[in-house]
Amino acid sequence: MANHALKVNGLEKSFGKNYVLRGIDVTLEPGSVTVLMGANGAGKSTLVKVICGHHRADAGTMMLAGAAFAPEDAADSIRQGVVTVHQSIDDGVIPDLDVANNLMLDRLVERGNGLFVRERQLRDEAAKVASAMGIDVNLRARVSDLSVADRQMIAIARAMARAPKVLILDEPTSSLSATEADRLFALIDRLREQGVAILYISHRMSDIRRIADRIIVMRDGAISGSFDTKPLDYEAAVTAMLGHRMTEVDVAVESGSEPVLELSNLTLFPNAAPINLQARDGEVVALVGLLGSGKSRLAEILFGMARAVGGTMRINGADYTPSSVEDAVSQGVYMSPKDRGTNAVIPAFDIADNMTLPFLKGLSVGSFLNARRQRNLSQEMVNELGIVCQSVSDGIGTLSGGNQQKVMIARWLLEPAQVLLLDEPFQGVDIGARRDIGRHIRGTAQGRATLVFLAEIDEALEIADRIVVMNEGAIVGEHTNQNVDLAALVADISGAKSTQTGTYS
């Protein structure tokens, strides 16, 4: 057993009633890169946090190089040889110190090094560490002046200064450009040769193709796939990650009538392929893609929060170039954003105030609000969507996640939209509320074009007439939601056909 770097057996973890890890078995081999994939909420980060000592497991064992491993806390985990580089790079570096001090920071923390810093010795050692890692930057430069990639390298180099047995990298390329990512991969290759066991967490297929020796996939707190025979089956891995159990919902596909929204040669990022898309009256179009596929960017551009690099947008034949969210709303383009807690919910308000917030103007006489109309209108929506509450004066915080989300969606159904954008409308929503929302969106779809941005295939199959797949900022596939060829859909999502365009979002 001693040839395993880390062996995790039957790991379980729950937060209250919420089971996040349900018996995870993972082994990491020395000198090998294991990629961990999983959608948001699959439990990846909880697994990492248990391994690096942030959380205690409820059940299960871990063995590190053949010895029992149960870290007391994060520091203990590091001392025993498990080092994690977290997603936000700036947690791993001190921006206001120079490179040499950053590389030697852990040395400064150790006791018994004397009171005064021996500057020359520190710089010599830092130079050694840097050259061993193949980092070529001025050691006197302040870290805050360096590029993101260099900062990332330094965070990893700091981690490596402790000679870990296991290195965990949590989405390390999420803010790197393609060339910067290449430098990171070269570093990972070097570490692999040194015999470090690497656990690499990422959604990005191009990364995974480049460095994976093995892939393990998590879904709903369990391992849903493990791939270690070369050539690795990437499509099977994506299938295991997204899951596409056929849903019981039957969608009567509408092809829509007149085109409402037309995108011509819309370019989301520099160097990305242009997008051409039509969304018709009465049609529900799902845009699916992995994290970083550009769908959030497209939503932002449509809602006036960002500008496209190039191309045109038209609504009902007229040019559409929203200058702000306010402008987009006034032109009849509404968006229910993702992450409702951050982007949508007004915690201090009750249901009626939350729901009617965008359209207060129509509910006031002069500037004075007509509270009764506000409440009546909200009550109608509460009944239509089946929002479970005592009254519309209940605080929004008293509702469950699903009901809160219904309120957030109802907000944009109060007035007729030209184009309705729903970004991850099923995030943190139970299955019942999800069905209610889906049914209502489809039921009211006439008179507008509806675009739904989703990461999960089964959600798209449940709500859409047409499924458009995005990858690397471009549209790579389109499927009518009728006898969908799931294999082809998954292949599109994993980017099997796409060419490397060199952009990352």
Partner: protein, 336 residues
Amino acid sequence: MNDRLLDFAIRYGFLILLAGLIVYFSLAAPGFFGPLSAAFVLQSVAITGILALGVTCTLVVGGFDLSIGAVATSALMLSAYSMVILEHPTVVAVFLCLGMGALVGFINGILIVKFRVPDLLATLGMMFLLIGLQRIPTQGNSIATGMTLADGTVAEGTFSAAFLWLGRHRFDVVIDRLLPMPVVIFVAIAVVIWLFLGFTRHGRLMYAIGSNERAAALVGTPVNRYKIAAYMISGVTASIGGILLAARLGRGDIASGNNLLLDSVAAALIGFAVLGAARPNAFGTAIGALFVGILLQGMTMMNAPYYTQDFVKGAVLVAALVFTFYLSSRRSGTGH
């Protein structure tokens, strides 16, 4: 049952305390209960209250305005300078002050919204700037009719009767010459701000900004414009306070208004506790100002020494804050 008791305590506790205070002082201090004493209390809180209503608007959008005290004293000095030295008529002096308040509020807003200076720091900087600025034209002297100016001439202007009327006129209510003009203006501003924040869509959107700015922006609220407007309201109300102070004193006294900032902020924060609102609100602010005024008046009539006043205000503020944040958090914790 326990929950309902807690809810009742949070809602009405502060008002009951206020009523209890009035009953206690009426029994313990002869002369406390009566129109003259009431008018005196109102008079003592009117200017602080007006400033507090302005700062309430900035609290609503999740900001803070530390410059209100300095805006008020600047308006005091500006009105004196305008009338005594430049010999402007009343209307010009009043509009100069209001314009100054609006401009300061606008600059505060721009600093916060465009230049991303944190609200406390921006308004702190503005406070310093104004405290310094108001002393420069008069070389640090107070302004009064007959003073000798830097160039050797004598200031011949006077505060006009119309201007002094703003600060000194008393309306006949119950007793002749009872209710002072500043109290009437305070009540009027309180009603306007109360209606604005509580019952207009603009007020509702301002509360939305204070609660979740990003969400408010994503429904198309022009967040920056509302924030700037809030600071402008705060600046204008502070300048009204300064005008009334000048009209009451009848001179441009450089040393007046030292306590204005702290007292008015305290009133606005005490207001959080009124009716269990747990957020800034105009009614609460007015009650908060009254509460402090009544407490001080009662204590003065019971011969408590003047130097205990700030201590008492502090104690009330801390109690109100505990009331607001601790009890309300317990309520929302058990509210499911």
